[in-house]
């Protein structure tokens, strides 16, 4: 019926299509479409990124904390430790058997486990890989930890203990 017409009509469609490829209008259209596509992608991806990154941003603002006041911590018994959060990361306040006061980050410098004060062995120990730190200085004594624990300044008041960044 109309077969020949159809088959002949193919090149008729193709040829102007090919030629049009180089005309400025077509190039402009592709450019505008690409720019609009990028805008849409940005408008979708940016809110999603910020949404997913919210907790990280909140932790970062918590990390800006300069000092923490621990109410009633001055009553901490000798040879014991108090675990607390300095910003978003765990920290420990140690009241030594010799009545000394020190505070360290409680994050093991090896792989980030939370460390434990063991007064009977006079050490800070990480049970993940057996790292040992000195409980007076925070220095890495044995095991895998590459660095000492970060130390904080301690001020013991009448009703509280204030721990601040060194």
């Amino acid at each position: 019926m109309s077969d020949p017409v159809l088959i002949e009509s193919q090149p008729e469609i193709e040829v102007p299509f090919e030629e049009a490829e180089s005309t400025p209008t077509r190039r402009a259209f592709v450019g505008i479409a690409a720019a609009a596509g990028l805008c849409y992608a940005g408008a979708v991806c940016y809110p999603i990124y910020r949404y997913l990154a919210s907790p990280a941003e909140m932790a970062a603002s918590e990390g800006a904390v300069r000092q923490v006041t621990l109410d009633k911590a001055q009553a901490l018994p000798l040879a014991s430790a108090l675990m607390f959060k300095f910003g978003s990361s765990p920290a420990m306040l140690i009241h030594g058997a010799d009545d000394s006061w020190v505070a360290f980050s409680a994050v093991c410098t090896h792989l980030g486990c939370t460390v434990k004060f063991e007064p009977e062995l006079n050490r800070i120990h990480c049970s993940c890989h057996g790292g040992v730190y000195d409980p007076h200085t925070g220095k890495n004594v044995s095991g895998p930890p590459p660095k000492p624990l970060k130390a904080y300044q301690v001020n013991v008041g009448a009703t509280s203990v204030t721990v601040s960044r060194a």
């Binding site: 077969d3 193919q10 469609i13 849409y40 809110p47 919210s54 909140m58």
Partner: protein, 395 residues
């Protein structure tokens, strides 16, 4: 739109002609791929050899979409699909921070007011749910009035109705999840519909609710329903629904069917119709973006069973019709009789709606076709009037 359609190479739907036209299209492509030694060609060949891309492309080329005065309605299935995909994405994003159970309200408060753009994602999810319901209803009624349910498309119709039912369940279960005052009372009130099922209503409702009252248990199980059970049922069913569309192609309305084959027009699905589909999706995305950002979805006060219900508690608009029909019949026939009669009437109407392809299954105009058409008009009128009355009552 018709202007754009006319400019396409309109082709007779006769199979033989379509096939010959296609083979002439295939040749230049084959030559190109033989000549081409570039990376893109070799990547294409690598994938084609393993996944059979060529067959998919050939299938896409064969697929044609009829062109006639009612072609506009063909977009609504695609729009629904697009909105459903948005629901999956925004739903997954909400899942990142949502906590069901006792902390439900607090976690939604956090999403809305603490997390960056959380309000936007929640608002998009809520608005998209409404647009999705709207678009599948338009899709359903257009299928109904174009008589696209007729032989051999009965299963497409049945799966579509099931998908609508699951979509309504998605809406109902999702509405409770923020656990604010409005969602709490809307769920309490909405559970009146399953509760009025004769004989097993009370039992079903208690199981669904997880106890005698809407509580943390209800939120927990509605959450399981919303994010696990319903997607598990919905997605395979949607796959079957889409497969059937692919298998049978688009139905044409009786007015078009009356024309001889040679007088009917069609365009290739790919790329011609697909481009228009994309344009529709872009419009839908823009509408959604405007609604979600200009009218951000509200979060009320935390649900508290000791605080009296605020005025004007009502279900979502797509539940308004059955809810209000129950109310009207409850006023006419006091007590349990009204509820039972209401649910029986509604169920009968729904049953007729579901089995309509088996009543009006023949492709010819006759009494049955006309009756089905009038029943459709009656159903639309009943839904619109009861919905309007429902909103009038709470105004």
């Amino acid at each position: 739109m018709s202007g754009a359609v006319d400019s396409e190479p309109a082709v007779d739907v006769s199979e033989g002609i379509a096939a010959r036209a296609l083979s002439s299209q295939d040749k230049p492509h084959a030559e190109n791929s033989q000549k081409g030694t570039g990376t893109i060609e070799s990547v294409y060949e690598w994938i084609d050899e393993r996944l059979g891309l060529g067959e998919v492309i050939a299938l896409a080329r064969h697929k044609r979409i009829p062109v006639h005065s009612q072609s506009f309605w063909y977009y609504w299935g695609g729009i629904s699909l697009f909105l459903f995909v948005i629901q999956i994405f925004t739903g997954i994003l909400l899942l990142v921070y949502y906590r069901p159970g006792a902390e439900a309200f607090e976690s939604v408060r956090q999403i809305t007011y603490v997390m960056h753009f959380g309000w936007l994602i929640r608002s998009a999810h809520s608005w998209c749910a409404n647009l999705f319901m709207f678009s599948i209803l338009v899709h359903m009624f257009s299928v109904y009035f174009m008589k696209a349910y007729r032989k051999p498309r009965e299963v497409g119709w049945l799966t579509g109705i099931a998908l609508l039912f699951f979509a309504a369940m998605f809406g109902f279960s999702g509405y409770l999840l923020p656990m604010d005052e409005l969602s709490y009372y809307a769920t309490k009130v909405g559970l009146q519909i399953p509760a009025s099922i004769p004989f097993m209503g009370a039992f079903t409702t208690t199981i669904l609710r997880g106890g005698p009252e809407v509580s943390d248990f209800t939120v927990q199980r509605f959450f399981a329903l919303h994010v696990v059970i319903l997607p598990l049922l919905f997605i395979p069913l949607l796959g079957l629904h889409l497969f059937l569309v692919q298998k049978h192609g688009n139905a044409v309305p009786p007015s078009e069917e009356a024309k001889p084959l040679a007088a009917r027009k069609s365009i290739p699905f790919f790329p011609n119709f697909f481009q228009k589909d994309l344009a529709m999706w872009l419009i839908s995305l823009n509408v959604l973006a405007l609604l979600a950002s200009i009218f951000p979805w509200d979060l009320g006060r935390q649900a508290d069973s000791l605080v009296p219900a605020p005025a004007g508690i009502h279900p979502e608009w797509y539940f308004m019709a059955p809810f209000h029909m129950l109310k009207i019949l409850g006023n006419w026939l006091p007590g349990a009789t009204g509820e039972v009669v209401g649910i029986l009437l509604f169920t009968t109407g729904l049953a007729i709606w579901v089995v309509i392809p088996f009543y009006d299954g023949e492709n010819k105009t006759g009494t049955r076709g006309r009756n089905a058409h009038y029943f459709g008009l009656f159903a639309v009128a009943a839904l619109i009037i009861t919905t309007a009355l429902g909103y009038w009552g709470i105004r």
